[in-house]
């Protein structure tokens, strides 16, 4: 058994999930949420993360019920091949779309701020070899590498939040927007959430012992709280001009640019965003590969990587690469694909769990 084929433990799963829960949420999203729901925008992460926690709970239940089986096997046994293929094709599409959105936002961010003369090729040269290597190396290697970066990520994230608090000068006015505004904005940006879905894709590779579930829930909960705090700090720092500042975490830091003797500290947030983006993209690719192997079982793993790369290049070159297009893509197209993470998979899980109850009654 090589390192590649081995499973990940509760800590590594938790750390990967912690990192993933930041995806697409710390740059453009807070600004867009403010645009739609004003100060009440910070309710949106709370609402959507609550849903995501519900999906995580369903994962816990299903994993406990079927500890060694993969999600594909379980679905296939209970719903048949066709349903399995439909679900996993949707998962593949969902993850590649999220990867494209993430890449675009990161590209726009870095190109506007620190890579003024760089083109898309430079970014692809950076991202593709690293994410391909991480994904091909396997989930365990990815988990271990994430584990190595975790202290750095936590320290920088907390530092950003602490520094961000210094930027809050006054409290904004609440209740400017209605409940329906909040809910509609949440619905428009639902595609930025739903990353817990990856756990279902890697289900058989995740090994969590009985007492270790709290690690996973704690790390996921911490990430959700931190993302919500980042949104709150950003909105409270920029208040009525929040919609004009599209790069939340960076903007928080640049609001307090000169801090003591440290000089410019906004570069710290850039380092954090880079680390997050590499891992996010790698996890999306790995999830795509796992789904691909379910749909095309006889095709070698390397073809799934090639397919991802091919589709990724096509999407980013023909669809987006500027902020307006990325926002349109994220708000108007991607939410439809979130059906898979917030409706289809949870419904499948509920049905699977109901099977158990019926069996028990029968007994």
């Amino acid at each position: 058994m090589t390192v590649k084929d081995k499973s990940v433990n509760a800590w590594q799963t938790g750390i990967l999930l912690f990192i993933l829960l930041f995806a697409n949420k710390i740059l453009v999203l807070p600004s867009l949420l403010y645009d739609g729901a004003k100060v009440e925008a910070f309710f949106i992460p709370i609402i959507l993360f609550s849903l995501e926690l519900g999906v995580l709970f369903l994962f816990y239940k299903v994993k406990t019920k079927f500890p060694t089986q993969s999600f594909a096997e379980i679905v296939k046994n209970h719903f048949g091949k066709v349903v399995t293929y439909v679900i996993f094709i949707l998962i593949m599409v969902f993850f590649i779309c999220k990867a494209v959105l993430l890449y675009n936002i990161t590209y726009i961010f870095f190109r506007n701020l620190i890579y003024k003369e760089a083109n898309n090729i430079l970014f692809l040269f950076c991202f593709l070899p690293v994410i391909n290597h991480l994904a091909i190396s396997g989930l365990r290697v990815m988990g271990r590498t994430a584990q190595l970066f975790f202290p750095v990520i936590v320290v920088i994230t907390l530092f950003c939040i602490v520094v961000g608090f210094f930027g809050i000068e006054s409290m904004p006015l609440f209740f400017e927007s209605s409940f329906s505004d909040v809910m509609l904005t949440a619905l428009r940006h639902i595609s930025s959430f739903g990353d817990v879905l990856v756990l279902f894709v890697f289900m058989d590779k995740i090994q969590i012992k009985k007492g270790q579930w709290k690690i996973l829930f704690s790390l996921a909960g911490s990430a959700m709280i931190v993302v919500t705090i980042i949104t709150v700090v950003f909105i409270f720092s920029y208040t009525y001009t929040s919609f004009m500042h599209p790069y939340a975490l960076f903007e928080i830091m640049s609001y307090v640019k000169e801090y003591g003797g440290l000089g410019r500290i906004d570069i710290i947030s850039m380092i954090l965003i880079i680390i997050y983006t590499y891992f996010h993209l790698a996890i999306y690719l790995k999830a795509f590969m796992a789904s691909f192997s379910v749909v095309f079982r006889k095709i070698d793993e390397i073809y799934s990587v090639l397919t991802f790369n091919f589709l990724f290049l096509i999407f980013i070159n023909f669809l987006v690469l500027n902020l307006e297009k990325a926002v349109f893509y994220g708000e108007d197209i991607l939410p439809f694909f979130s059906v898979i993470s917030f409706i289809i998979v949870p419904v499948v899980c509920l049905v699977l769990l109901c099977f158990k109850h019926r069996k028990k009654r029968g007994d």
Partner: protein, 475 residues
């Protein structure tokens, strides 16, 4: 047996080398012959303990009688097939005309240096002795540290031409049997003409021999090897080499230093943090400088930017060429200083530091910030001297990445490299353990260090037969 004829036959098999020596004598109608290599045998012992007693002996010349009168310990009767290998290993062979067998007496001797402080691992505190090229001395240096019946030395022969003795040393009740077996298997499968030094075995015993990363531990100090054996590792001692290999190996071992265990534990932890920072500077320092100068100058505070702009405006080369040039210059000087006789070393330093460095800056060919960055990075290389070769290569790789892809590339390169390191497992030990996978108990001797009294267990990141090092009652 015709003694004269047999002696000629052996000499012919040894191609009549000049150090093949033979003697003959006749006593009571029995011919006695002696064959040995005078270059690797003790001539005094031969004449006083073997030749003289036989010459004075008045009884029947049989192997049984000879074994009694010869004043040596290592005496054995051998068949004709084994004669040549015995001669080559420093034995004198005795032939009797009334016997078809041969008597081999081990009188191997050659000049060896005495154990001294190894130049690669100088110490401030702690033992100053180091391994030598003599296998027996090295075994003694280890044996002296263990008064235990559990200490095992097992021998293997590697190399078709050299027939080099390779000895595995381990503690039977601590080392994992599977690891010992795996090493033995690998040694038995090695088909090579010769092993000249233990470094030959490095790639042959590694799981990923093509890797840039060092995968087998090595040390010249018996106290370090003994400490590693106490943790459950297996030592591989190779004849004619002062470097002893230890298996399994993880990166953390090179971050540790023997001095850490002979000084205050808080200070040791502090030093390890410094080493880690040094390592980071050495790997990504020049690359980061280039990346900031070429791509991200707008994130630099304005004061630093003005200073750098002032210093570099006269330089005709791009920052990358400039840094690459200084790095290559340093590397050339380093190579030259290694190979030059010591009396020329000072001259090289003067030429390198003063003439090339100082004049280069004054002539405007290189800028002072670049010289400082490269100098710091090159000095930082030696905060972890055992890894300096790998770090040096990585420094150049990250320099190119920084110059071509900027900060994004540098962080991507770091993730790529760490993922690669994480994919390596040697004899069941993850390369970056105990950091990833994170093992709390093993981090007691990780970046930070706790007092020895709190290190009650052996490392958990590789298999060993006994996890407990210390009982509470023994504190």
């Amino acid at each position: 047996m015709e003694v004269k004829k047999e002696i000629d036959k052996f000499k012919k098999q040894l191609h009549n080398s000049i150090d093949v020596t033979s003697r003959e004598m006749a006593k009571n109608d029995v011919y006695v012959g002696f064959v040995y290599l005078k270059s690797i045998t003790d001539n005094l012992i031969f004449s006083t303990a073997i030749y003289d007693p036989i010459l004075k002996f008045q009884g029947d010349l049989t192997f049984d009688n000879l074994s009694q009168i010869i004043k040596c310990n290592d005496v054995s009767v051998v068949k004709e097939d084994d004669v040549i290998s015995k001669i080559l290993k420093g034995s004198v062979i005795i032939l009797l005309s009334n016997s078809e067998e041969f008597l081999a007496i081990d009188i191997l001797k050659f000049n060896m240096r005495t154990p001294s402080e190894p130049p690669t691992s100088p110490v401030i505190m702690g033992p100053r002795e180091g391994f030598t090229e003599d296998l027996k001395t090295n075994i003694t240096l280890i044996r002296r540290r263990f008064c235990s019946q559990q200490l095992v030395f097992e021998q293997a022969m590697v190399g078709e031409e050299t027939q080099t003795q390779v000895v595995l040393a381990y503690l039977n009740d601590v080392a994992d049997k599977k690891i010992v077996k795996e090493i033995k298997n690998k040694l038995s499968k090695i088909k090579i003409d010769g092993i000249v030094d233990s470094y030959y075995l490095l790639s042959l015993l590694s799981n990923r021999p093509n890797s840039l990363l060092k995968q087998i531990g090595n040390s010249e100090k018996p106290d370090i090897v003994a400490a590693k054996m106490l943790e459950g590792r297996v030592a591989v001692i190779v004849d004619n080499s002062p470097i002893v290999l230890t298996i399994p190996f993880v990166f953390l071992e090179d971050l540790q230093n023997s001095n850490d265990y002979y000084t205050n534990y808080i200070y040791s932890g502090f030093l390890r943090v410094i080493r880690l920072i040094g390592l980071l500077i050495a790997v990504v320092g020049p690359g980061t400088y280039i990346a900031l100068q070429l791509f991200h100058y707008n994130v630099l505070p304005i004061k630093y930017l003005i200073t750098i702009a002032d210093a570099t405006q006269q330089v005709p080369f791009t920052p990358f060429i400039e840094i690459l040039f200084i790095s290559l210059l340093f590397q050339i000087l380093y190579e030259v200083s290694l190979r030059l006789p010591s009396y020329l070393g000072l001259a090289t330093s003067i030429v390198g530091a003063l003439i090339l460095g100082d004049t280069g800056v004054k002539a405007g060919l290189i800028s002072p910030p670049s010289v400082i960055v490269v100098a710091i990075a090159k000095i930082a290389l030696y905060t972890v001297p055992e890894q300096s070769a790998q770090i040096n290569v990585l420094q150049f790789i990250f320099l190119i990445i920084g110059a071509s892809l900027g900060l994004l590339g540098l962080i991507g390169g770091t993730i790529y490299f760490l993922a690669y390191a994480n994919s390596i497992e040697n004899y069941g030990a993850p390369y970056l353990a105990p950091f990833s996978p994170f093992i709390l108990s093993d981090n007691k001797d990780g970046i930070l260090k706790v007092p020895l009294s709190d290190m009650k267990n052996r490392p958990r990141f590789f298999k060993n037969s006994n996890k407990d090092r210390m009982n509470d009652s023994e504190r």
